[in-house]
């Protein structure tokens, strides 16, 4: 299998930096080496849930990485909506420090993505023009229709679902993911772990290539394999260009990377 991608500006829309309490870990220099090897020009970097539970230092680690490598990395912050006002304060602080988007991980932090407190945080992020990346497909907390509900509750928010909105290896969650995308035009999907190529291809045919974004969730998933998942799609070169970078850069209003 050969992958020839001449002159596509490839950006990975979902990478974690730091050492997670769940034992996955990535340092900035390791990420940069992987980007170099795979000819990926840049990445959205997100904080992990660290071993001491404190998200503020994890956000600061992302701020530092972005300030060290501003032409390679775009930073998203992470807050826990259950903390209410404290979460809003941290979100504003991160925005002022230059982070461009918000990552929400309802599974690791433990809340429903369409809960009242999550809606408050998402509304604030939307108000500050920050796109929201939701770790999606998790049972009880972030399945596709819960994320779709969030999209309806905060219609001015730009929301990306990781994993195509599904973590289900029967394919039986595809219908909900499709329904979510059809019903909310402010909803996008990322590609990591989407095991059925035909699902991604059908979304592109029916809803357009603007709604699909390459994101690997590296180091939880394998960055090289996740890139190949997109390169292997039976779509046009122009569509690949959009999936691999253009769509994301539009959402984060960035021309830097």
């Amino acid at each position: 299998m050969s992958y020839h991608v001449p002159s596509i500006n490839i950006i990975d829309g979902h990478v974690y930096l730091g050492h997670s309490i769940n034992d996955y870990a990535l340092k900035t220099e390791q990420l940069l080496a992987s980007l170099e090897e795979l000819k990926i020009n840049g990445a959205v970097v997100c904080p992990v849930q660290p071993k001491d539970y404190h998200l503020k230092p994890a956000n600061d680690l992302v701020v530092k990485a972005v300030s060290d490598f501003p032409k390679k990395l775009v930073g998203f912050c992470r807050v826990d909506p259950r903390q209410g006002e404290k979460a809003l304060t941290e979100l504003i602080r991160c925005r002022q420090l230059g982070l461009k988007g918000l990552l929400l991980h309802p599974w690791e932090e433990g809340y429903r993505i369409n809960s009242e407190k999550a809606v408050q945080v998402v509304s604030k992020a939307a108000e500050m023009n920050m796109p929201i990346l939701v770790e999606s497909g998790y049972p009880w907390v972030s399945h596709a229709l819960q994320v779709a509900d969030l999209c309806g509750l905060v219609p001015n928010a730009v929301i990306m679902m990781s994993h195509g909105g599904q973590i289900n290896i029967s394919g039986l969650a595809q219908a909900d993911a499709f329904a979510a995308l059809r019903s909310h035009s402010n909803l996008y999907i990322q590609t990591s772990g989407v095991y059925r190529q035909d699902f991604l291809e059908e979304v592109i045919i029916e809803l357009g290539s603007e709604r699909v974004i390459f994101g690997s969730t590296f180091p939880i998933m394998d960055q090289e394999y996740e890139l190949k998942r997109v390169l292997n799609l039976n779509i046009t070169y122009k569509e690949k260009t959009k999936l691999l970078g253009e769509n994301l850069l539009k959402l984060i209003n960035s021309e830097v990377i």
Partner: protein, 250 residues
């Protein structure tokens, strides 16, 4: 270097129920692109069930491409005379294995009726391919119960436990030597390497779950696991061929 690739898990069916229309030509075309010599095929529908023609569909596909396709019977153990139908599928129709998808038939892997059918598969020397994953009736530890109850049967865990149950899948394969792991759809190349390290290269088999999953990409995943040439040879072909040869020696 890969000498031969056998795909141990693909689908051929025209299912209005799921909206997945995949005639045999679809997988044959993908096999040609990927360099796959032969594929094990099964339907999306279960027999007995909503589509009673499912077994015939597989038999006809194998008749059409006898050198490229090998058929499994996808069964619902709760249906009328499931054991008799399965026996006929193996003895008279030339199929080579049993497929269970506990989610589509809403049936626990270790139910009495499942075990009856698995015991019959053991008597016929056919492998039993189980969908495994993160859902309520497909958990590796549940299939482990069935493997313990039927030590003479050979189980293959499709998808190696899916997204969040890969560790459990490797664990039950460590515990029960009659469990093999099928690499299809599961997204972590490193876990294939880990499985080979922990249970040996003899009990890991390549599967794509095509045509929904692209076989070329699924092959790439196994290559990214960076196995030795000998291990790759076993995973890509030898292990599944050995299981299928036993069926002919019943």
């Amino acid at each position: 270097m890969i000498h031969m690739i056998i795909d141990s898990h693909t689908h051929v069916d025209e299912s209005d129920i799921f909206g997945w229309i995949d005639p045999p030509e679809t997988i044959i075309e993908l096999m040609d692109v990927a360099g796959i010599e032969c594929s094990v095929i099964m339907t999306y529908a279960d027999v007995p069930g909503l589509d009673m023609h499912a077994l015939k569909y597989i038999v006809n596909a194998v008749k059409k491409y006898p050198r490229r396709l090998i058929g499994y019977a996808r069964m619902n153990p709760n249906g009328k005379d499931a054991v008799g139908l399965f026996r006929e599928a193996i003895n008279d129709l030339g199929l080579k294995g049993l497929k269970f998808h506990p989610e589509s038939i809403t049936n626990h892997p270790y139910s009495d009726n499942s075990l009856k059918l698995i015991h019959e598969a053991a008597r016929l020397n056919t492998p039993v391919l189980f969908h495994s994953g993160d859902e309520s009736m497909s958990l590796p530890l549940q299939i482990g119960f069935a493997a313990k109850e039927c030590p003479d049967a050979t189980f293959l865990l499709a998808h190696m436990g899916g997204y969040a149950h890969v560790e459990d899948a490797i664990k039950v394969a460590e515990r029960y030597e009659n469990i093999y792991l099928d690499t299809s759809a599961m997204p972590y190349p490193a876990k294939i390497r880990e499985a080979v390290k922990r249970i040996g290269a003899d009990r890991v088999v390549f599967g794509s779950d095509g045509p929904g999953c692209n076989p070329s990409l699924e092959i790439e995943k196994v290559r990214l696991a960076k196995l030795s040439p000998l291990e790759e040879k076993k995973v890509f072909a030898e292990n599944i061929l050995q299981l299928l040869e036993r069926v002919d020696k019943k």
